[in-house]
Amino acid sequence: MPFVNWLKRHLVVIAGLLTLAYLLLPNVIVTVFSFNQPKGRFNYEWQRFSTDAWQDPCGVAGMCGSLSLSLQIALWATVGATILGTMIAFALVRYRFRARGAVSSLIFLPMAMPEVVMAASLLTLFLNMGAQLGFWTVLIAHIMFCLSFVVTAVKARVMSMDPRLEEAARDLYAGPVQTFLRVTLPIAAPGIAAGALLSFALSFDDFIITNFNAGSTVTFPMFVWGSAQRGTPVQINVIGTAMFLVAVLLVLVSMVVGNRRNKQKA
């Protein structure tokens, strides 16, 4: 029974590839339907091929505005969370201090909390303070939930770093500032970059917390949510496809460049 044997041996591979297909199927649909020309307000059924949406990606009122707002918020949330999170990560790894357990829990809890709980409670706070919901409340919320992820990413990197490297730098005439800039920071950089990237993705794609705390401000996910009720323009798929392609392309390019650099050096 060669076929059964073959199947047995490759069962894991087949199952894994099926899961991969499950993960990627929606992206395929999103891409295909970006070339659709739907009949009604909703873009759920295939009608006929058209590149109209690609030629006029900003042709829907408010969509590109919400996209640029989301990008801005994601950018600032990334900057804020990365700086604050990196500082905490260094404190956690490098220093002894009181209330360490409390600090660790405070970092862990936001990651273990359903978004809707954080969203609702933050809204209670803002309502109690009489804060004006909008850009700033969204930014505050995003920095809050991205912070823990940055701490985790940076902490992992800094913990795996040999403390002797910094001692070596100090031994080789580098003062505290020089040691930090020339040795600590460059070596921690991949962790910081990973944390920043994750922050950006989380912030850009966040819906639940934003939905509670944005007031009448519309980010891109909120625009998509609204359109699911009112009617989904094809341009949404255009944006989705473009983001997917840009992400894959960026990663591939960085991998190819990295490989070539390694080969040259070896």
């Binding site: 040999d162 002797r164 490297l165 001692e167 070596a168 730098a169 100090r170 031994d171 080789l172 005439y173 580098a174 003062g175 020089q178 040691t179 020339r182 040795v183 460059p186 070596i187 050096k265 070896a266």
Partner: protein
Amino acid sequence: MKTTPDNSGDVRLSGISKTYGSFTAVHPLDLTVPEGSFFALLGASGCGKTTTLRMIAGLEEPTTGTVRLGDQDVTHLPPYKRPVNTVFQSYALFPHLDIFENVAFGLRRRGIKSVKKQVEEMLELVQLGEQARKKPHQLSGGQQQRVAVARALINHPKVLLLDEPLGALDLKLRRQMQLELKRIQTEVGITFVHVTHDQEEAMTMADTVAVMNGGRVEQLGAPADLYENPRTTFVANFLGTSNLIEAEVDTKSGEDIVLKAGGGKLVLPEARCSAPATSGGKVLVGIRPEKISLTHADDAGSIPAGRNRLTGTIADASFIGVSTQYVIDSPVCDELSVYVQNVERDGRLVPGADVVLHWSPAHTFGLDAAQDIDAGTEEEVAA
């Protein structure tokens, strides 16, 4: 304390100690390392040798005492202000910099702009000129080790500290690098302070060895001195192997002490006894395995007079090429080790044979019997 102005490479530790909470890593310690010498701190892990080194480097602040380089008190100087450089355990090469930049690091931090010539010369010295643009992880262990040495030496430190620099290398490479380091030291003439747990390495390379145990220096001296005349059981067992036999002081005759062990008598030169020898008191008699000769009991008559003798039975014999190692059960002591060179092998010396062990009194040493007789043996160190 007298100071001579030209000895700026001297390292003087006076009364330095280090405690962490209730744990004392290093007990108050006085140590002078003369300029230009190759000095080894030898001991098992946790004996305080690395802490001592780190206090010299400035990476650890002593709890008490002072560290001086020549005339300069550097006790409270941070490491980056001390004219001292370190070759770290597992090297601590900067992974994000290439070999050239690793070596240039110290020069650049001191604001030296044109480093190219110096770095290239240094890399030539350690035979790594070709590898300048590689990253550390692309080099072999031995090459990384040489980069670490180059990175420290290029700064012309007054003292070079080496923290187990050869620990990560395999045996053959370690031998090679021992000679290499010794050569470099002779060439540059800088004071080297070398921390190691490998007694063979310490004895091969260093002019002076300080044996540390439990945060204290047990004994300090030239390698041959330490080996031939250990003053504590730890040194006797940690440096090579020693047979230690408990004996009672009988009489003193001239410069010798006569001891009773079992039924027989042993002679020990008083100068080689580090314990107070009062009549009736206990002393540990030590003898190195290779100093003992073995004679079959049938030939006992042929042994020259004036030698210390013990009788025993061979319990085990293992042939290891240049020599044969015997384990001998004797009434005074179980498991005496004897190494006999394979010059003329006596076919009768097999397990079960009765033998006489004999050696020159001049090779005997005496230790204080109040000590742990097993201190510094492999089992004890491992535990």
